[in-house]
Amino acid sequence: MSEPIIFDKFYLGEGKSESDLNGFDKLTNADIHTTFGKVQCQLVGSLDNHTTVDESTVTCEDRSGQVYFFSSESGKIWKRTAGGTFSLVNTNTNGAHQGAKYFNGNLYYASQYKLGKFDGSTWSDSFATFSNNSLYHPMIEMNLSLFIGDSTYIAAVDSAGTFSANSLDIPTGAAASCFAMAGNDILIGTYTGTTTMRNTAYLWDTYSSSWTIEDEVYEVGFNCFIQLDNGIAAQCGLAGRIYIWNGSRFDKWKKIRGVTTGTGYQRSTVFNGKALFVVGDKVYSIHRTENDLPLAITQEYTSTTDPTYALAVSNAQLFMASTAGVDKIGTDYATATIDTPEVTGNYQNVIVNYDSLPTGTSIGISTKIDGATAWTAQTAITDTINKRVYFDGGLGDVNFLQARITLTPSGASTPIITSIIFQ
């Protein structure tokens, strides 16, 4: 027998590897932040509208709680009222959209060749003409202007509504793919192509004729920036790698393991103070509840459709825009799984201590021994007096043990667990 090992630091989130004891191998639909030191199910991703909106979209919200969805497959533009009613409000004669942003009382939306504008009453699909016809038109509001990527140019709309086609030019070859606010400056991430393994970010004060600082990452492009609490991260490349901005350089920081990532400047948002990032149908958070805790990565929400390309927040609601339509966060909980690290030792049982196990909910235990490919479900026994779930031992000779704890909710009730013990 080996010395018992306790996993109770759920706030650490996912670890660096399957065997990293300073974290968990994988957390799915897991809420590790609501109750510090405990873990519970996260709310389920549910259909908001998959009938009126039935194409992948980019989104933006106005100041009145209305959210607009701009098709990236066609010229269709839909509006979701604050009350949740969807309608088709315009069809852009210039075709599919690459970006959108509410700025200075107007809605701006970009197709490949044209910038459109909606002033609240009139849709002007050809408000302005881009110079470079980029496939990427990220947008950001900063210093009383709206900045729009157009390949090697940064276009802008100022507070008077005047369009400038080339407020900044960056070196030829790469396209501006995403923006982030960095103090009073903006960070411009770039993407060159699938075969270019080196891309540059530029820090620009938004009015000088050149940028201030540049830094390269050896990745296939900047996919999106992730706004942290007083910090900026960049998701770069194809393998889930995340870099963090130290004020002048991007440092290699974290990696979301087992995912394939791609471009999309709206893949991240901030919801209830949490930085969120979507890949496939999985929405990850990078968050800590207090400043002296580590920033933890956990997979919190799952949309109903893979892939999901854009996130938006409005009216205290998170929207996930996928190829099938729009999802939101429901009121019921999703089934959560917590995969422990793989631990070396001849362990014979797994005990899950719980804080709450409401009627209809359950806690399941599965195990994987010596790196087996499949999980083996164990027959869980619930001890309501000692508030723990375990199974009758007898795993045979164990060199490495890993456990998956499944928290099954019941409607709006979720189990809450406090620790997992190998013994």
Binding site: S131, A165, I170, S210, W211
Partner: protein, 59 residues
């Protein structure tokens, strides 16, 4: 006739690799031609040291 303004920067950036003024000037002229090709009615182009101010009919 209503008009709208589009600006084209001519002052070059300070970093290597960015377009020089002559390149920005030529690209600006190309952009004006592009606007015309796409059906814009270019009413006037005003040039200063720093920029073209392109005045278009606001259709």
């Amino acid at each position: 006739m209503d008009a709208k303004i589009v600006k084209w920067r001519l002052n070059p950036g300070g970093k290597d690799g960015q377009m020089k003024r002559e390149e920005l000037y030529r690209a600006g002229l190309g952009y004006i031609e592009k606007l015309k090709d796409e059906g814009e009615n270019v009413l006037d182009v005003q040039e200063t040291e720093n920029e073209f101010t392109i005045i278009l009919e606001d259709k």
